[in-house]
């Protein structure tokens, strides 16, 4: 069983990089071509606004404040939960990872509710007829992962020492025995699936947001004198 799981881990790792490289190849081929377009000038303001767009989802807030609240809470909670999980991957554990343990735990409790809110807002919108099935599957996966994580935290806690040894063993290419708990296995398998199929827009969206801000600032220059 340990060998199967470890093989799955490395397979997920390969799938992640294969997908990333596939997309990177497309991006690379595109940027290799010369563009007749004159790029909009960059500015500190555009950078600052892009930061707000990427970190606070400012553009989403402008178009849909209710969905923004749900989506931002979900992404922030997920980030804190992921940072909390770094304690299994790092040895020694840095102080800042210890510092996010309590916020990460609180975020873990909030995560399923924020996801529920995202689903509720999306399904209540009669004017939104479009549903992306891959997006929904990924959100469902995160929902199940978060619920399983909470169940393990509250009632069926695995041996955390075994978990850490197992994870570090994988990272060091020196596998340790699989922790003996079924729920952990399911949780881990689902996390692998999420890792392998993480949406690639997380890499390109910030670049496009930056271009949008630069373009927005340059719009007035198209037909007006400076």
């Amino acid at each position: 069983m340990t060998i199967v799981v470890i093989t799955a881990v490395y397979a997920a790792y390969i799938v992640f990089w294969a997908r990333f490289l596939m997309h990177a190849l497309v991006w690379w081929r595109a940027v290799q071509r010369s563009s007749p377009e004159v790029p909009a000038p960059s500015s500190i303001k555009a950078c600052a606004l892009t930061f707000l767009d990427s970190v606070l989802f400012a553009r989403l807030f402008r178009v849909d404040p209710a969905l923004w609240f749900a989506e931002w809470s979900f992404h922030a909670s997920l980030l804190l939960v992921l940072l909390r999980h770094l304690r299994y991957f790092l040895d020694p554990v840095p102080a800042w990872v210890w510092a996010v343990q309590t916020p990460g735990l609180i975020a873990g409790f909030l995560l399923p509710f924020t996801l529920g809110l995202v689903f509720a807002i999306r399904s209540s919108r009669r004017d939104e007829q479009y549903t992306s099935r891959p997006n929904m599957i990924l959100l469902l996966l995160v929902l199940l992962l978060s619920v399983k994580g909470l169940v393990m935290n509250l009632w069926l806690r695995p041996n955390l020492v075994d978990v850490k040894l197992f994870v570090l063993g994988i990272l060091r290419l020196d596998p340790s025995p699989l922790p003996a708990q079924g729920l952990f296995l399911i949780h881990f398998a689902m996390a692998l699936l999420l890792f392998a199929f993480i949406p690639t827009h997380i890499f390109t969206a910030p670049i496009v947001m930056m271009e949008a801000r630069k373009r927005q600032q340059a719009l007035r220059l198209v037909m007006h004198d400076e």
Binding site: V26, W27, R59, V63, D127, Q129, Y130, T131, T200
Partner: protein
């Protein structure tokens, strides 16, 4: 269908990233005018992007690189082509995109790719290159009818001048009160201006650009730019939002260097003339009017305040606003060269514009685009709600 060339061939580098950056959230659907008239998710912006991603993967992905260009379902290509041509390219989806994808420029480039593959354009759009090559305009009308039916007798055109006026094909052939108003306002401002002879004032290239048929573009641009340069033009004034959009954004690219003159929309010219006192509005108008922002003027080139400044300068006039206005304006249905092919969509969208103007108790609907003017007037025929439709310069020219 087996591919022979990359699907990213016609896209700008930025646009390839935009295709990848779409989160498929569907927020844009709330702002799509096509979705307002028929809720067909196949035509939704994220669905078009999802389909195009599949095409891109088939030619540019890792698998394609290792094992050769992949196979694309012809039905998917057909669905995509219809969807991308049914769009009015108004750009409201991009304006409200949480990521900021510049869809007003993306859709025309996807159309160009479909043209290169022999799948686009659709219907009468395919006649455009021949019509423009033969007669100089997309309506295939004779050049002698370009100015004669509407040009005011009292207005004198200079042979050379630092200011030139470009009437545009849609204004000259389909929205004549509008271009007549432009010329009267320019005449009233008292500054001499020139125009190209009717046989030399050819299409600006926008209908070809927007339908993805770019082959004639460079030739048209060179003819026009050289024509104005020979007349010592320093400012080219035009009232058609589509024309000013391609002139300011794309002409320099096709010309190969910055244009030797500035491009100004007629409302910019009029607003400046009013401010400097060259133009005076003598009559008042005790009406509530509502101004519709043309998509290619507001979102396209950022001309939003000037039309309002012109309208506010009319004594007695009360200016109302649509719920969606300025950068967020809603398409009236005429854009993207879709009005001649997807006629019912365009009429339905035009009627939504009329209905909102009536609901806001506007006495008059003010338009600033010849395509909007032609189509919204057409949409009002047989419609229950009726409102006076006037072009902004048609209105001003009657009050000076």
């Amino acid at each position: 269908m087996t591919n022979k060339r990359s699907f990213s061939h016609e896209l700008l580098p930025r646009q390839v990233l935009e295709i990848d950056a779409c989160t498929q959230c569907g927020e844009c659907l709330k702002h799509c005018p096509i979705q307002d008239v028929h809720k067909n998710p196949l035509i939704a912006p994220p669905e078009k992007i999802r389909m195009f991603r599949e095409f891109l993967r088939s030619t540019d992905g890792l698998k394609a690189q290792l094992f050769g260009l992949g196979h694309v379902d012809p039905k998917l290509l057909e669905d995509f082509t219809k969807a991308v041509y049914e769009c009015t390219t108004c750009g409201a989806c991009g304006q409200n995109c949480p990521v900021g994808i510049f869809t007003q420029r993306l859709w025309p480039m996807l159309r160009k790719e479909m043209v290169k593959r022999g799948l686009g354009p659709i219907g009468v759009q395919a006649n455009l290159p021949k019509a423009i090559a033969d007669s100089g305009n997309p309506y295939d009308k004779p050049a002698k009818e370009r100015y004669a039916p509407w040009f005011p007798e009292q207005v004198r055109i200079e042979e050379r001048s630092s200011i030139a006026y470009y009437a545009g094909c849609t204004g000259a052939y389909e929205a004549q009160p509008m271009v007549r108003g432009d010329v009267l306002v320019m005449h009233a401002a008292g500054e001499p201006f020139t125009m190209l002879p009717p046989e030399e004032e050819v299409c600006c290239g926008f209908p070809l650009f927007i339908t993805g048929q770019h082959d004639l573009l460079k030739d048209l641009v060179l003819r026009l730019v050289e024509g104005y340069r020979a007349r010592d033009v320093k400012t080219l004034v035009c009232s058609c939002p589509c024309c000013v959009n391609i002139m300011s954004r794309d002409w320099p690219i096709f010309y190969g260097k910055p244009l030797p003159f500035k491009i100004r929309h007629i409302t910019q010219y009029a607003a400046d003339a009013l401010l400097s006192g060259k133009l005076k509005i003598k009559s008042s108008l005790n009406e509530s009017v509502i101004y519709h922002d043309p998509c290619y003027l507001s979102r396209g080139v950022g001309v939003i305040e000037e039309p309002r400044a012109v309208l506010r300068s009319i004594p007695g006039l009360k200016l109302l606003e649509f719920d969606r206005h300025g950068l967020n304006s809603r398409c009236c249905g005429s854009g993207g060269a879709a009005r001649k092919v997807f006629h019912e969509n365009a009429i339905a969208m035009g009627r939504q514009t009329i209905d909102e103007a009536v609901a806001k108790k506007a006495d008059r609907l003010i338009l600033g685009c010849p395509a909007c003017y032609a189509k919204v007037n057409e949409a009002m025929v047989g419609h229950t709600n009726q409102v006076k439709i006037t072009d902004i310069m048609e209105l001003v020219s009657g009050l000076i």
